[in-house]
Amino acid sequence: MIDQNPSTPPNRYPIPTDILAAFEAETTEESALLREVWDLTEGYYGQEPEALWYRNTGVAIWQDLQVAMKRESPEKRSPLRLIISPWKVARPMRYAAMAACIAVLLSIGMVLSDNSTSIKAPYGEQLVHELPDGSTLRLNSGARISYNDFGDGNRNIKLTDGEVFFDVTESVVPFHVHTFNGIVTVLGTTFNVRAWSDDTEASTDVSVQTGVVRLASRKTPDNVMVIKAGHAARLADNTHTPVAVEMTEPDQAISWLSGGFKYSNHTIGTIANELERRYDIQIKVSPREFQNVRKGILKENPANVEEIIRDICELTCVYHSVPGGYVIAQRESE
């Protein structure tokens, strides 16, 4: 199925044994193909600077380093510029690093007061944000979050509204996401939270990619549901008990990360809200009650918003474009 690239050289790095072990769960054919992928990707080394550059640059860096090392003493400031290091650094440096981050983040719509940080992803855009603990968030269009700087050792995020994919750095300190009706607790894992309080059927939806996630209602925080990787759960607005959700496709909840648009069994009102945020347009649904009709839409890679609306409508509604958006109207019954 996959042809060996004729010019692919021998592997510089062999395939790790842990990965080979994982392949044993696969069929012989699949396992062989996955090995081939490893071999095939060796060709990717192709485009890189020439060896001469590495050598010359190395010599130049080493000269600079020797000068810097001679000058270096505990009292003196580093002749090189301040850097952010991955481990605990001296207080002043941490503030310098934070100041640098803030300067950048301000330009993408981040508001700062005291130690608290608020971020909003504009309509029609998605944002990536890194937290002080190294966790990364990806905010879907319109999502709003806020947090204190984690300085007191807590890891609490408020998801005011919207959808966020969390990649949480592992730590003994629990990481909490507070939505309008629920609390999501993890130690270190990747998961998606969708909590729009203004949806026609508002709920907090959690879908777990790796690790284990706990979901509880704000009102009854002891009533915890444990969600494992590959599973999803929903906490509806009017209940206090999360329930498991069957997914039509395993990666459905996070298809938005790769440009997909997938909502199975949601109301037209909710889907229209999503479209408005994703594409920064306005959608009018008529008559109003038609918003409560349920639809499923699974688009891997839609070319544009119209392609999605066309699929939603099929036989049940008509649509036409208006300045700044679309009108979706229910078809008259025969």
Binding site: Y13, D18, I19, W53, I83, S85, P86
Partner: protein, 196 residues
Amino acid sequence: MVKSSAYEVAPPPQDEAFVRWSTRIQSSDQRAFSELFEAMHPVLLRYAWRYTGEREAARDVVQDAFFKLWQIRETVDPSRSLKALLYTMVRNLALNSKRAAQHTNGVFPEHGLVDSTPSVDQKVQAEMLNAHLRQCISELPKRRREAFMLSRYEGLSHSEIAQVMGLTPRTVNTHIVLALKDLRKRLGALQADPSP
């Protein structure tokens, strides 16, 4: 087409060497530091360059990382991987410099792709395949791609990647296996539907 120059960058040395180096560097042994620099600067330059997409920025990142390592030498723990520490430093510095100038997402930059010398058919095919490879790899989910690339192109062990990315080795394994499966699907589709 893989240029032979790509292979002049030697793979990094064995783990025992790093343990010896970190013990010696901890006691301010400049000679050990220069040996470490000699062994690691090419791979780290390439790694940084992949993030920054600019040679000057990559150079700064690697220089800052080594200088920082020298400054904190007394706190280096020989029982933790020095290699992973270097990669972590370079990664964070590169990500920082990337924030200032948005670049490549950790995927090899485009330049160098077009080879102006006349090409035989096979070479063209290999070029195309590699271009598709880059495309497929760049489309992997971010963390999945990073774990895969650290393993595949930097030769880091699972526990080293875990240290760099702040994950458990198990999660690292999952990320890499999923990346290979993703790639196999994408590459498989490519083979089934050859572009003209």
